[in-house]
Amino acid sequence: MSTHAMSANAATSGAHADEFIVREDHHPENGTMLGFWLYLMSDCLIFAVLFAIYGVVGSNYAAGPSPADLFDLDIVAVNTAMLLLSSITYGFAMLEMARKRTQMTLIWLAITGVFGLCFIGIELYEFHHLIHIGAGPQRSAFLSAFFTLVGTHGLHVSFGLIWLVTLMTQVRKHGLTTENRRRLSCLSLFWHFLDVIWIGVFTFVYLMGVLR
């Protein structure tokens, strides 16, 4: 579509009649980014529903432990820092990609992956600790909702890491081709989007849970 308009533009350059065609074609520069954005929006709805479930049953403890008993805000703060740092290092990777420096892009992607792994590691440690002290997902409605919401987010980050490693292999093998740049842009949206969801998690689940 884009090439069509460009050739039309080139064929009749200077002519006034085709101006509206060009203006219309300016919108869908590359359908992939818009499509991926729509996917993220539907993912956003999944999280909205999980947040709503947590909001509804989040105070049904079944005589079990409450958030204030369970959550260690120090760990959550470290986890938040990990995700935020991975966000900015991914941003640096995108800047290097724009400068077409393959090696630096790969290095920043690797650093992003390390921060992501730290995040997942800390979260798994927290989950393991909770299950170990008998506060697993089957203990109460609050804990079921908690594990579902935070676990879904963690699952997204895990799949993001798999995607990251896949793309690093692709970039190392084929360089920063147009396709790889597009894929890295998609993962960029995905990664930053997960950080946005995490803002909701640490605010609504952890901070407000401890306040309750």
Partner: protein
Amino acid sequence: MSTVNPHLDAHGEDTRNFHGHDDGHGDGHGEAHGSFKGYLTGFLLSVVLTAIPFWLVMEEVLPSKQLTVVIVLAFALVQVLVHMVYFLHMNTQSEGGWNMLALIFTLILVVITFAGSLWVMYHMNENMMPLSVHEAKNLP
């Protein structure tokens, strides 16, 4: 993101608009990459907007819990906006405005889902069957 140069496919007005937005890096990749300054600004703002709520809750700075909740939620909302602008590079022009349209539509659905669930389920609790004989005898 896009390999199309803005000045190739846009007429005069649009070209000037694009350049006004992308002054930092003029290599024609559209607005998806942001700039070093943008990322750093977003990062520093996020650090501040994260640290303050954690500090408020962990040190129990404010006497009123209600007030703390409101402030923490406000900080989260601002931080989401910061991420949207500096990391996700949202603006009204990206993808010809369709990004923004999809976002607004999603936000409306999120608000309906979230607020609706809390509202309805809160009132459901009021109308639950009594749990014990004692409660049944002392219905309001």
